[in-house]
Symmetry: C2
Subunit: 353 residues, 2 copies
Amino acid sequence: MHPFPTLIVDLDIVRTNIERMTAKAEKADVEFRPHFKTHQSRKIGRMFKDYGVKAITVSSPIMAEYFVEDGWNDITIAFPANVLASSYYHRLASRCNLKTLVISSEIVKKLDKLITEKMGLYIEIDPDYGRSGIPVSQTEKIAEVLNEIEESDHFYPAGFYCHAGHTYKTRSEEEIKELSLKALKKLTALKKKWPDLPLCFGDTPSCSVLDEFVPADQISPGNFVFYDWMQVQIGSCTPNEIAVYMECPVVEKFEDRKQVLVHGGAVHFSKESIQVNDYLSYGEPRLKHLSKATYMKSLSQEHGIVQCSKEVFEQIKVGESLQVFPIHSCLTADLMGQYHTTNGKVLDHLSGT
Amino acid sequence: MHPFPTLIVDLDIVRTNIERMTAKAEKADVEFRPHFKTHQSRKIGRMFKDYGVKAITVSSPIMAEYFVEDGWNDITIAFPANVLASSYYHRLASRCNLKTLVISSEIVKKLDKLITEKMGLYIEIDPDYGRSGIPVSQTEKIAEVLNEIEESDHFYPAGFYCHAGHTYKTRSEEEIKELSLKALKKLTALKKKWPDLPLCFGDTPSCSVLDEFVPADQISPGNFVFYDWMQVQIGSCTPNEIAVYMECPVVEKFEDRKQVLVHGGAVHFSKESIQVNDYLSYGEPRLKHLSKATYMKSLSQEHGIVQCSKEVFEQIKVGESLQVFPIHSCLTADLMGQYHTTNGKVLDHLSGT
């Protein structure tokens, strides 16, 4: 047993998750450009090659570098271009088919003075999520940015990129479907106006429950490779489809309050939480039988307090480990910096390199 | 300007914070055993030596190893002993004067079979915080654990360790004082019963506002070295005493909603938040003049959305950086893995090594 909190990955589940999403993309006739921000692992990244994946999505120039060095040569940095990092884009664009996102013609102008390599620019479209992007209704602004891209000698329009992140607020498969179909419907006018420009869509909840993505041409989900307890709550997956869990040493038991202290805190899980029924959960013990009364109740820097049902409390033993599903696998993996497979091998993660 | 989110440390403020706490401990006649879990930096750790600090506190065996290798030889791991990590305690105890916490005689018995080096054990006392430790009223249980320690050939009683973590729920200096004095008062009976055993007390809020710590003999605050926006809200410090801030590239501005997109997300700040008046803040822009309407409204993996007052929005420029105080400096530093000083030097952090 591991002496410290350890992130375990079940590669069989990873493979099944990749296989299912690849098959779905193929059937729906959309290009699959998976987001690698969840696993951030070269070894896990290579598993996608077995399924014909050639183009990937990342969330930062550093992450793009990590995968360029592993032979990937069609990479989209799905984050609005940061002019302070222009030298990174320039260098990356000389090494691969690089694309990133833009929202304003001002940025395109600024980048055009700083980058002389050929590079694709997606215009980010906001489907009422409200985080980033041009609202889908602002056709004039979209045309203005597109025009600016076309005037550049170095840039070409890569298409439209649209992340419907508000699906994370749903709590059932039906709700996800309703919300994502509404977002896709809004994009129809855009696609009609610019039929030749690829439209990339894709958050894990939408891509998990939809079978058709019209009018989108590409999908780029990321979290689906592992899933997590948040995705179970949203309605994207079942607990059996979660590919990662933490193994936390059981340090003490508190009989009177039916709580267990594990080594596993905010520096391991992250401080992400989700409301589950009437409690706020920071992690969900991976038990043979689901127990509504058992959940990670609080996290300090290194402490995790697990509230237990009477039965679960009696089964847990000091000196053993408790397996816990993370609420948000992307953040937990980023903190842990490496994976241990169920066969005891160690896999890389960018943050641990 | 840094192209990516960067953690800046102002060493003048660090020095002032250390100096103030050292002077306070001296005046109050308590031993100062600072917690190093906040900075986790050898270089920052060495600054404490200038103020006569000889004994330190950490939160894990790995952190203890990091500081043993930098010459510290009196180290308390302020986390209940994890029997799965017994080989680490054993090895550490052969290299320094090691202490850790215990809560039950069962654990003392188990450890005694696994560790043959001399080692101190603090009995952790819970001052109604409810996370870990023996409730202060359970004198019999305390005596039982103490007895088990005294029967061991390898262990000796290091004293009582008491973390009043519920001070983090207060919202003014007066509230902190009331709560921490109440906790200290509860410890009086313990001290009377075992006058020869040192009593270690200390969370940053209590140590920041109290001047006397009777009946405690030692204090071990950690966060005070940097402080953060949570400590400002709790009532422990002023914004001028915060020694760290993030520099985040300003990527885009959204005029209609007076929001700014910065590169700086949950993998940089952590997902810690705090309720400030009527909003939930994930970070507080470091501005010349405080603006109640300006705060970090949401964080995704790499995105930070800053809600701005009209005036602040106009001052912020794309292609520049925005300085942001973290909500919880311990977690932000752990994620960032290194510090940049205001003079451009880079300082180590355990997680980046």
